[in-house]
Amino acid sequence: MAFPSISQSPTSYHPGDTKRWWQSLTRGTRLRAIITTAILLPIGFGWIYPFLWMVSAGFKSTDEIFRGLSLIPADPQPQNFSRAWTDARIGEYFLNTVIVTLGSILIVLVTVSMMGYVLGRYQFPGKKLIIVLFAVTVFLPEGYTIIPVFELVNRLGLANSLAGVTLAQAGGAHVVMVLLFAGYFAQLPKELEEAAVVDGAGFLRVFWEIMLPLAKPIVATTIILQFMHSWNAFLQPLVLTLSRPDLRTLAVGIYAFQGEFFTDWSGMAAAATISLAPIVIVFLFLQRYFVEGIAGAVKS
């Protein structure tokens, strides 16, 4: 504390008082912040340029896309979006994707939270075996199991149905999410359920009415991770809807139309914008959960 100017800690910064905070920094820190920003700003702009280009192209005429590089459309063409929505059947694919995503989120949330609850709070014979089994599955890339998954869904009679795609999207061990729930439930005080058991609550009720509502942050993380997984899935829905074009999800549908509409840049850009918008908007508002969910993987 002898050199307060060096050991400037972020806690002494009052939100809203930017000017005072700025003046409280040493000249070196200030200079570094300016240089860092000067370097990162153009890189950051280049980083999101593909998205900016895509949105801007979605509002331009194909002619204008070819002509210039300006990101601001001279003559906005919102009809690109309606054309993509109906002619390129993006509306249909959007609905399919929503159904698959919501369905798989629901399935995953229920199964994973129950599993995590038991692993986090109880001792029982066979627990070690299950943990080892789960640890092994972490390093299985999706591509190598696509053929058996395809065959399994076929055999279940769910081939070429949204139910099949939903189930395949929800399937798997979900190790990271289970561990997140287990870790969270493990650190809750045990008096919680002891009191409830005294009141006569059963196993199911303790979980459903006391434990699960306490785990809201992990519930949110799980929803976000599964949302990201299902909304962006490509290989599984592609393989599972090969003979049913009307069941395609957004990623598959836009891929399929890439060949057909390749000259219609503005329509394709509008379609891509529609597909990416939901996940990007959710990310911008709830990024804490994205980051926590993904960082959870490396911590565990």
Binding site: L40, R121, G143, S300
Partner: protein, 327 residues
């Protein structure tokens, strides 16, 4: 900190009877709710993780076009054919090249950015973190399609910029030239997944206590030596995990490659996953699920071998370090 470790709890299902003196049957019965609660997740894991893993071994020994009736056991025939399949070895090699180039670039660049953004006195850190992370949340397949426009030789924005600044005198066909196609995809892959490595590094950097920096700074250490002497040794154990996760990710490139090049031109960017897809589901000829499974299995085993080798090497390195410290 360690979210993943499962704490043993004293709470038993049902009554708090002591473990000792109860038969296995009693203990199983006491934990019946536990098994019931695990059932749904275990069923999903069995169906979509364990079963496919086991079956991918079985399928590799079949001649099978996808219709359940015409499965034929052919023993090692698929593997024999693979060994002499030029396309298989090319794809195999390409996947490893992709990994060897893309993984180090991504991991190192992400560390550099994470070190810059980890500085809590830099108030714009979270803003840039959001920007660098954004591509991660988006769909690889749709990004791939958008990128075919962005890198298009016909009026694509990248080529326009290069032409406008006179860096090239005619458009570069990034995705249509066999020499550049795979590396353009690799560049997009690094961009797309960079944010994940960055977040991993930022999480790892949380373990470095801030007062260590303060103390070293008072001793007059500059920023570079701060990171070299304090940060890097402390985050070193995380590096192995981050590299491993990134390696696994670098083998998961189907969405980008299939939409950006489809493995072309002339198979120049056909990585393993695309090769497997083409043989199993591609529209050229009869699907060969058995043959594709054999390729997937062969490749999967190699990858597992690399992971194990890496784990072993790291353990060796760690042992050597602790020994050096002791002497």
């Amino acid at each position: 900190m360690s979210i993943g470790t499962i704490q043993p709890t004293t709470v038993l299902a049902g009554k708090g009877q002591p473990e000792r003196g109860r038969t296995l049957r009693q203990r199983l019965w006491a934990a019946r709710w536990c098994y019931l609660f695990m059932l749904p997740n275990l069923v999903l894991a069995a169906m979509f993780t364990f079963y496919p893993t086991v079956m991918s071994w079985y399928f590799a020994f079949l001649d099978w076009s996808g219709f359940t009736s015409d499965r034929e056991w052919v023993g090692l025939e698929n593997f024999r054919e693979l060994l002499s399949d030029r396309f298989f070895w090319d794809a195999y090699q390409r996947s490893f090249m992709f990994m060897l180039i893309a993984v180090p670039i991504q991991v190192v660049l992400a560390l550099v950015v994470a070190l810059i953004l980890n500085d809590s006195s830099y108030k714009l850190g979270p803003f840039f973190r959001t920007i660098f992370f954004l591509p991660v949340v988006t769909s690889a397949a749709i990004i791939g399609i958008v990128m075919t426009f962005v890198f298009s030789p016909f009026n694509g924005p990248v080529n326009k910029m290069l032409l406008n600044t006179d860096m090239v005198d005619r458009p570069v066909d990034f995705l249509g030239d066999p020499d550049t196609a795979l590396w353009t995809v690799a560049g997009v892959w690094i961009w797309k997944w960079f944010g994940i490595s960055m977040i991993y590094w930022l999480a790892a950097l949380q373990v470095v206590p801030q007062d260590l920096y303060e103390a070293a700074r008072l001793d007059g250490a500059n920023r570079w030596s701060l990171h070299k002497d304090i940060t890097l040794p402390m985050v070193y154990p995380f590096a192995a995990v981050i590299v491993l996760i990134t390696i696994v990710g670098s083998l998961n490139v189907f969405g980008l490659v299939q939409t950006m090049t489809g493995g072309g031109p002339f198979f120049a960017s056909e990585v393993m996953e695309v090769y497997i897809y083409r043989n199993a589901f591609g529209d050229s000829g009869i699907p060969r699920l058995g043959y594709a499974s054999a390729a997937a299995l062969f490749f999967g085993i190699t990858v597992l071998g690399i992971s194990l080798l890496q784990g072993w090497g790291l353990k060796k390195a760690n042992d050597a370090r602790t020994q050096m410290k002791q002497t």
